[in-house]
């Protein structure tokens, strides 16, 4: 496969994770400007695990996701009383603190004659697990895409279970959720932790594909992009964030003539799109319609109705 295409597909995979994490929080009605913190934590933590401790990426994945879930859950608990814009700004402040902490952190050890470890704004390099294990770019892409497929699959299952509906209910009407017996606090903290873990997965793959990451990779631009992906692609299905990422990275990286003017074109496109589709391309209503069209073609009609005078 073409090298350029491989790198685009790997990027799409990596950024879809963080877009999914922002989408999960959007479902519960929260706008997070801070998912890049967990993406960054994922990149750094996993990089340390493989480059400094010499463990494999497969060991790094669960460790990193746990660490990210834990820190995200903690942020979720601290910010639990904040709603709306206050929550958004608090997550932004947290993420910037994380980024600045990375800029301020130097912790290097000598391994095989080389200094390895976070080095302030020079970032963390030598994340060579893929190279050392002879995993080529092509293979790494498949690792990312298959993991993405699994995570997306879990998302679809979640959305079909009551858990998905519970998240959506909290997002649509918090008070209703409470009177429905939903422990909103607990579910919100759970969603925040889960979103942190998913974002960190993107960071892990990003770090191991790039081999070198910098604190500036995890600035607020990344966070707002991840939020925008879900909203552009649509908030009705987990395919929405993927579609958003594909539109941004895939489409615009692939089309040569927009090079250099990419954000001028994309920014305008998104602004116009949002005028006509304020909840994205695949919003709840369109997803519902698609689902209905699909179902009536494929399965039996809805259960036969019995006569009920009340329905008249």
């Amino acid at each position: 496969m073409d090298e350029h295409l491989v790198s685009i597909l790997t990027n799409i995979g990596g950024f879809t994770f963080i877009a999914l994490s922002a989408y999960l929080l959007l479902l519960t009605g929260e706008i997070s400007f801070g998912q890049q913190a967990f993406f960054g934590i994922g990149a750094y933590f996993s990089g340390i695990v493989t480059a400094m401790w010499g463990l494999s990426m497969w060991a790094a994945i669960p460790l990193t996701m746990l660490a990210a879930a834990f820190s995200a859950g903690l942020v979720g608990i601290i910010t639990i009383r904040l709603r709306g814009l206050y929550f958004s700004i608090a997550t932004l402040a947290f993420a910037e603190m994380v980024r600045l902490a990375l800029v301020g952190t130097t912790w290097q050890v000598k391994i095989d004659g080389e200094m390895i470890g976070p080095n302030g704004s020079e970032g963390l390099g030598n994340i060579r697990w893929a190279l050392d294990n002879n995993i080529e770019a092509n293979d790494f892409m498949w690792i990312v895409l298959i993991t993405l497929a699994i995570v997306m699959g879990l998302f679809f299952l979640m959305e079909r279970s009551r858990l998905g509906s519970i998240f959506r209910t909290i997002g649509a009407d918090r008070l209703l959720a409470e009177t429905q017996g939903i422990n909103v606090t607990a579910y919100k903290v759970a969603a925040t932790a889960l979103a942190g873990a998913i974002a960190s997965l993107g960071g892990i793959f990003y770090a191991h594909a790039q081999t070198h990451v910098y604190p500036e990779n995890f600035d607020v631009m990344l966070g707002v992009h991840s939020l925008a992906y879900g909203l552009i692609g649509g908030l009705g299905t987990a395919l929405g964030p993927l579609l958003g990422v594909i539109l941004d990275i895939g489409f615009l990286e692939a089309v040569e003539w927009v090079q250099g003017y990419r954000m001028i074109a994309f920014g305008g496109l998104v602004a116009v799109l949002l005028i006509f589709m304020p909840r994205g391309i695949l919003d709840e209503r369109r997803v519902h319609r698609l689902r209905m069209a699909f179902r009536t073609r494929k399965t039996e009609p809805p259960p036969a109705k019995t006569h009920d005078p009340a329905a008249s």
Binding site: L157, M158, R160, S161, R162, L163, S165, I166, R168, T169, A172, D173, L175, L176, E178, T179, Q180, G181, I182, N183, V184, G236, E284, R285, H288, M292, R295, P302, P303, K305, T306, D308, P309, A310, A311
Partner: protein, 253 residues
């Protein structure tokens, strides 16, 4: 036997006393009406009982258990469900899912059940939703988005959703609000035949014929205080009540 016992319930908002020393006892299996002019404290009463606002003073006990000041999700675990005067459905979910979701609160639902998307128990629960939809006359609209339903159906959906949790005590806030007389009769029948059997109900309503039709007993609130209690006929002929409605009606919004 008394199911809901409210003693000396007071709720203040700043200087305003939205509920003033209200005591009400609702018996098991009863349909109890709550009436009063706009803003007399009826909805505040529901909000305090369901835990949305903590009481300023007074006790609320459900089946002997003190629920005053509990957060809404815990109150609801003890078998209490309600509907809302200005409709709170999840607009972007379909009718079936709105009800199906509500089952999560039933006793014996574990985290595994909440994650379930198949299996025998889940199938039977889904079947229950369909049965309920049919009983409530909503089977035709099973797949429609809740926001696409006309108002009377939305009200019925709210009642059906509350019943999906099998509550001991069901609070209905203006179940016939904004409905035509014909639609009101329909909803009265639904309450009588589907919601009331084996359950205790408290109903807020302005439409007196509905109250007379379905309620065993009723109480009247005025300025946050209870001014009368008895059978609907007694209450509606009470001189003080007549005075409130026909004479110096005044409110406390």
């Amino acid at each position: 036997m008394t199911l809901l016992q409210v003693d000396g319930l007071t709720r203040r908002f700043g200087a305003l006393e939205a509920l003033a020393d209200v005591s009400i006892a609702v018996n098991e299996g009863e349909v109890f009406g709550l009436i009063g002019p706009n803003g007399s404290g009826k909805t505040t009463f529901f909000n305090v009982v369901t835990g949305i606002y903590p009481p300023s003073l007074g006790r609320i006990s459900l089946g002997g258990l003190d629920i005053g000041g509990m957060p809404p999700h815990r109150v609801s675990k003890h078998g209490l469900a309600r509907t809302f005067q200005n409709l709170r459905l999840v607009p972007q979910m379909n009718v079936f899912d709105n009800i199906w979701l509500a089952q999560h609160q039933r006793p014996g639902m574990s985290l595994l059940d909440i994650l379930a998307i198949g299996g025998r128990r889940e199938r039977s629960r889904r079947h229950e939703v369909d049965t309920l939809l049919e009983k409530c006359g909503l089977a035709d609209m099973r797949q429609s988005l809740a926001s696409d339903l006309p108002l009377p159906d939305q009200r019925r959906l709210e009642i059906a959703r509350a019943m999906a949790r099998n509550p001991r005590l069901l609070l209905l806030d203006e179940p016939a609000g904004g409905m035509t007389p014909l639609e009101t009769q329909d909803v009265a029948r639904m309450i009588r035949e589907v919601a009331a059997p084996g359950r205790t109900l408290i109903v807020i309503e302005h439409k007196m014929d509905l109250i007379s039709d379905i309620c065993d007993r009723a109480a009247v609130l005025h300025f946050g205080a209870k001014i009368a209690e008895g059978t609907p006929a007694e209450v509606l002929s009470d001189p003080q009540v007549l005075d409130v409605y026909l004479g110096k009606q005044a409110d406390h919004a």
